[in-house]
């Protein structure tokens, strides 16, 4: 589905000599150049403060680079007019490190939000949402609001919201920080499922257990520079 959106197999994301500096501070990211091919799957690693979330923000257009070019779905984002940004964002699913759920909406409504914002309606939507929540183990908490969910439960709602509209690109920032390894593995399987249907996936994580287990190529941030680390054996 939606293969038309891939703009003739152009990279989903392409960075050219991107540098980021917050205010007058040092460069957090330096000379970042990489591209993500449609349908690829990467882990993003680096120690705390290395710039993983910053890189995600660049891709999601919530942060502009200090220098360099960011291409998204084949478009140069520097020249993108402000009112075209929402349309690009609708093609990206994001799991934020701090979840960012809406406290006044139920789990179902939170997950359905990207569909509503994009104008989707109808009973299919709700069934689809409920099914997904059941899949991440929240079948009992469909009508619960985020403040009444445990940390791990909130994280899974955030993940469900990011994947509900089968985005072309999925960015997940530390999506397993609040769940145990069993659930963590299950969540990675969910991302793999999505990936198989064409979604490009990037997962930032500190959990080397998962990285070692799934053996997808790693984008590693160190001292502001990005290095691609390919693991020889195929994913298990």
């Amino acid at each position: 589905m939606r293969t038309d959106l891939f703009d003739g197999e152009k990279p989903v994301v392409r960075f050219d000599q991107v540098g980021v500096r917050y205010g007058a501070g040092p460069e957090v990211l330096r000379d970042i150049a990489f591209s993500l091919e449609p349908g690829s799957f990467h882990f993003l690693t680096g120690e705390s403060g290395a710039g993983k979330s910053t890189l995600m923000r660049l891709i999601h257009l919530s942060l502009r680079p200090t220098r360099g070019l960011v291409h998204l779905f084949g478009r140069d984002t520097a020249t993108l007019p402000r009112d075209r940004v929402p349309d690009l964002r609708r093609r990206i699913g994001v799991v934020y490190q701090d979840f960012r759920l809406l406290d006044h909406l139920t789990a179902v409504d939170n997950v359905a939000l990207p569909l509503r914002v994009a104008g989707a309606r109808g009973p299919d939507v709700r069934n689809h949402v409920s099914e997904l929540l059941r899949w991440v183990g929240l079948g009992e908490r469909l009508a619960a609001k985020p403040p009444t969910l445990s940390g791990g439960e909130q994280q899974r709602v955030a993940i469900a919201r990011a994947v509900i509209n089968r985005p072309d690109l999925l960015l997940a920032d530390e999506p397993t920080g609040n769940v145990d390894d069993n659930i963590g593995v299950r969540l990675i399987h969910l991302f793999e499922e999505l990936n198989r249907m064409g979604t490009t996936v990037v997962i930032a994580t500190h959990n080397f257990g998962l990285v070692d287990r799934f053996r997808y190529p790693r984008l590693d941030l160190e001292d502001g520079a990005l290095k691609l680390i390919r693991t020889p054996s195929p994913p298990c």
Binding site: S62, V94, L105, D109, P114, V117, R121
Partner: protein
């Protein structure tokens, strides 16, 4: 619809929901009352200016001491007719004189001849006093009458006659009324300003309270208009509520005051001080307030969102 038609932004818990309508109601009430006062005053002023300005009244005393009041009146009328610049001069009918004199005399003036009647040469009398003869003089448009000279000539033609120059007097009253009108306008403008500031305040506050929600909607791909629309609706609804209550109370107050003024004979009880067009101003007030609130909210939200990137 299976997905509940909830607003994305949880306005229900906002303090604005409970308090903004009351503030708007008070504001609209106050401006409604001020507008009513201004309209009433305006009506009075235009009556005065059309009825009185450029006008003299000549009062010829009557009664025992003035057996020749009638002749004097005729002489004055003849004199006036010869004077250049006088447009019209007419003797006021007795009923009108009685009405004009009544407030000065109290209820006795209302009909019966009363005790101690000493009138002979004049018309009917009021409360024992002989009614004077009043001559209403309208100067021709644009004519500049030397009222002092005229008064002297009138006094010679009719000894005891007093010439009142309403133009000056009315001019002063009209000047005063105009300043009161100006004050009323300023009051309405200030109240309007306060209301707009309050709506801006409520909207900015809403933006602050729901900053994270708005930020997330943005990140999820919502357009500015999608977000602004929700704020607009909220501002429209809250201020409409308040404005309707405020206008209703203001109209009630105006009715009450008109009724009391009628009771106190300060004005004819049957006079309609407000024309339908003027009542329409009140009917429009909530709509105007709601529209102002809507636009204020829209502008505030869109400007703030643009700054948020």
């Amino acid at each position: 619809m299976l997905i509940r038609r909830q607003t994305d932004i949880p306005f229900e818990q906002d303090p604005a929901g409970r308090l903004l309508p009351w503030i708007v109601a008070i504001m609209i009430y106050l401006s409604g009352v001020a507008i009513a006062g201004a309209i009433a005053l305006n009506g009075a002023v235009s009556t005065w200016s059309s009825g009185l300005s450029g006008t003299l009244t000549i009062q010829i005393p009557a009664g025992t001491a003035f057996p020749k009041a009638q002749q004097h009146a005729d002489a004055v009328l003849a004199l006036l007719r010869k004077t250049p610049g006088i447009g019209e001069a007419r003797r006021l009918p007795r009923a009108e004189v009685l009405r004009l004199v009544r407030p000065w005399l109290g209820d006795e003036g209302k009909g019966d001849g009363g005790k101690g009647n000493g009138g002979k040469g004049g018309d009917a009398d009021a409360g024992g006093l002989p009614l004077p003869i009043l001559i209403d003089v309208r100067t021709a448009a644009g004519a500049d009458i030397d009222s002092a000279a005229l008064a002297a000539r009138v006094a010679r033609a009719a000894p005891g006659a007093v010439t009142e120059n309403h133009a000056r007097w009315a001019g002063r009253l009209i000047g005063l009324a105009r300043s009161i009108w100006l004050v009323a306008l300023i009051v309405v403008a200030l109240i309007g300003l306060a209301t707009v500031i309050t709506v801006v305040f409520a909207t900015r506050t809403g933006l602050r309270i729901h900053r994270r929600v708005i930020g997330l909607l943005h990140l999820i791909g919502a357009h500015d208009r999608y977000i602004a629309r929700q704020f607009e609706r909220q501002a429209l609804w809250l201020s409409l509520q308040g404005a309707v209550v405020g206008v209703a109370l203001a109209v009630g107050t105006v009715f009450g005051v008109v009724h009391l003024a009628g009771e106190a004979e300060l004005q004819p009880a049957d006079a309609a001080i407000f024309t339908p067009a003027q009542w329409a101003i009140f009917a429009c007030l909530p709509g105007v307030a709601a529209l102002v609130a809507l636009l204020t909210a829209r502008i505030t939200v869109l400007r703030t969102l643009r700054r948020m990137t």
